[in-house]
Amino acid sequence: MKVSNLTWKIGGEAGFGILSTGKIFSKIFAKKGYSVIDNNEYSSLIRGGHNTYTIRISSNEIFSTNKDINILVALNEETIRLHQEEVTYGGYIVYDENDCNIGDFKKARKDINYVMVPFSKIISELGAPKVMVNNVSLGASVALINYDLEILKNVIKDIFGRKGSEIVNLNIKSSELGYKYIKKKLKINVYELEIVKPVSKMLVTGNDAVFLGAVRAGCKFYAAYPMTPSSILHLFASIEDDYNIVTKHAEDEMAVINMAIGASFVGARAMVATSGGGFSLMNEGISSAAMTETPIVIVLCQRPAPATGLPTWTEQGDMLFAVHSSHGEFLRVVIAPGDPEECFYLTGEAFNLADKYQIPVIIMLDKYLSESHFSYEKFDFKNITVDRGKLLSKSKDIDGEYRRYFNTDDGISPRVVAGIKGGIHIANSDEHDEDGYSEESAHNRKIMVDKRFRKIKKLIEEIPPPKIYGPIDAEITVWSWGSCKGPILEAMNILNQKEKKVNLIHFTYLYPFDSESIEGIIEESNKNVVVENNKTSQLAKIIMMNTGYKIKNKILKYSGRQFLPEEIISGIEKIE
């Protein structure tokens, strides 16, 4: 059967390489020009939990994974138990009779196909370690869709290359055996993907994209304490020498944010990343950046909370916290990219905004966006340009007597790279006068608060309004933010196949909120609905807070899992 879309899922016990196996499968399609989006699920346990990896492959443009699975690879019985109901009519479950008694399962789903592959037998006959059943399953899967085994073999070579040829060969061999087993057993190709232009695509997660954007933007100092999105830490650490970046795994999150502030104070672009708990601990530091007017970029990856919560799952529960975080009132920018591509470009933008306005800029991700791979043609990194704003880096740039917090018309005071002659000042966490000296008078306080807030005028002109996707004249308008973008676009495309029913207003810039421009796009005549991955509909709240407009319809999900397009469709269909 020729298909343009195919969803493949693999499941098994934690600690058996499900995540890297999935990634290989994604890669072999992205490499050949297919659109790929994947998503993994695992527990906050090193062993013993249940892991899955879901990949959607398409010959067209796609925006998210979906619910219906065409091929489910079950490396243990639990996978069948938990996921067989997700398999689409006519789909396939690949399993090993050694792992499970298939009889009862079959009774429940007479509409799907069960394909036995003796994973462990193949592996033990080959004398390979048990974890290589993964490769057998990959080979079998490639065969099931009549894909090119060579591509898989090449990717395996790439990835396991540095482990030596023996390992590589065993890996390849086991995938071949899986492939051959299927080819021999099934005479027909059960699925076959439509052909696409073979332009190799990158496969990046939100974390990868933020990292890439930051390196391009000239981030020179990255500090973190291990926590989601920890792969950003690992990425920076892996290239710090080559790109002249200092990466610091610090003792705690207070150290992290304050080190970054120190680095930024002397002129280095600096970034930190964390999730909820760490962000909570950074709050005081953020307020210090605000008061001293030190630029800083903070990545906040959302996980189900409060407290430790569900550390390996996803949610959008921290928006209002980020927007109002830290004591006192101060300007900040809060950005929530919708996909890895936006992560890349908006990270570049985040550094510019931080520098130009000398404020903290918060980039909000969530675990889903952070760790799911999306395929893209190469990012055009030249589109990220560097604007450091009013930064004086040479003594001779200083014109007359220098006043760090000079009360300018736009509120932005020229900043110096600390250490140059003529620029001496105090960056002061106390309220201060134009020179930076601590100053408590009512008069000065008002001037300085006004100065710092006055920056909002230019800032709000510069940040773009939310993007509108889909027909202008739709009947239903979905309002959303961040990573919900993909599933909504998928849902929208399906719903609009017949009529122009739905469009999407997607916020990537959450704060400052341009009330006027948003009021301008609210169509009261429409059916408006928010879609959010949280319990309390935080976007609806911030819209109401700033425009007074109440969006009554809400599609909310707070089970620790991201939306699937199907859920949004059914939510929208219920709107009256």
Binding site: G218, Y243, N244, V256, M259, V386, A418, G422, H425
Partner: protein
């Protein structure tokens, strides 16, 4: 060695600053008699001795009476949050290791709320100098117990007397791996300024516990109290500064209080391990058009 702090471009010949040139336009607001004056004076004197210019120095301050010094010493200054001076200094130093970075803060700031940073900064051995203004009390918040307060010390927050064993900053620095650990007394500015000078010249993380009488809130650890108890390690001929066990032993003395250098050794700097700053400081890199093609290619 790139890792050296900037040797001032100035020398005896072309340097003409006096300690007073390190005064800002603001007069100190410390209580008269406060030990902070002695430290302030020693510090300015030391800068002159080392031919340092104000812009060659960055001092990161904590919050406290001591931290208010940010307003009174003319160098680049970052008046950080309470307890967070060390990480700010660390970030600044790693981003521009040519700067002479110092840290000034109180005992509450340094070993109370900031204790974790203290421990970890010591083991890091970054080339900076930390002056702990140890008045054994919380000055700025008007006199509560400090982690360094003696057992039994009575304050508003412990009116029946402190129940804990005090933190010993010198011992803690030694146990955590600082490579230069000293104690000074703000009542002996010429000794103190020598200790500071050697600390700044030391290649590594240098820590000085400065005994600083708080005349307003600590009536126990007074100038007289210290004058009676203090003795100088440098006057003990046999004292071996490189012997950690000996340093630890001395640090635990209570009847008599040693001042001077307890311990000094050379260990590779943290910065020495950073290839990325071997050629030049991070901040000196041009960032306007960084080519990330090689990185992007990893994603295929």
């Amino acid at each position: 060695m790139v890792m050296d702090k900037t040797k001032s471009k100035y020398s005896k010949e072309n340097y003409n600053l006096k300690p007073g040139d390190f005064n800002t336009e603001r007069k100190p607001t410390w209580c008269s008699g406060c030990g902070n004056y002695g430290i302030w004076n020693s510090l300015k004197k030391t800068f002159v001795k080392l031919y340092l210019m104000p812009h060659e120095i960055l001092i990161v301050y904590g919050i406290g009476c001591s931290g208010n010094g940010a307003n009174f010493i003319k160098t680049y200054a970052f008046h950080a949050l309470h307890g967070r001076a060390l990480p700010v200094a660390t970030g600044a130093k790693l981003a521009n290791h040519k700067l002479n970075v110092m840290i000034i803060g109180g005992d509450g700031d340094g070993v109370g709320i900031g204790g974790n940073h203290f421990m970890h900064t010591c083991r890091r051995n970054i080339n900076m100098t930390y002056l702990l203004h140890n008045n054994k009390v919380y000055g700025l918040t008007t006199g509560q117990t400090a982690p360094t307060s003696d057992k039994g010390f009575k304050t508003k927050s412990t009116p029946s007397g402190v129940l804990e064993k005090p933190v010993n900053p010198v011992l803690l620095a030694l146990a955590s791996g600082a490579t230069y650990v000293a104690r000074g007394f703000s009542g002996d500015t010429s000794h103190l300024s020598e200790v500071i000078r050697k600390a700044i010249k030391h290649k590594g993380f240098s820590f000085i516990d400065v005994l600083q009488p708080c005349v307003t809130f600590n009536k126990q650890n007074t100038y007289d109290f210290y004058r009676e108890k203090i003795y100088k390690l440098d006057e003990i001929k046999s004292y071996d500064k490189s012997d950690l066990n000996e340093a630890i032993k001395r640090s635990m003395e209570e009847e008599k209080i040693p001042i001077g250098i307890f311990y000094q050794v050379e260990r590779p700097l943290y910065e020495d391990g950073l290839k990325q700053i071997e050629r030049k400081p991070l901040v000196d890199h041009i960032i306007t058009d960084i080519d990330i093609n090689r990185l992007l290619n990893n994603y295929y």
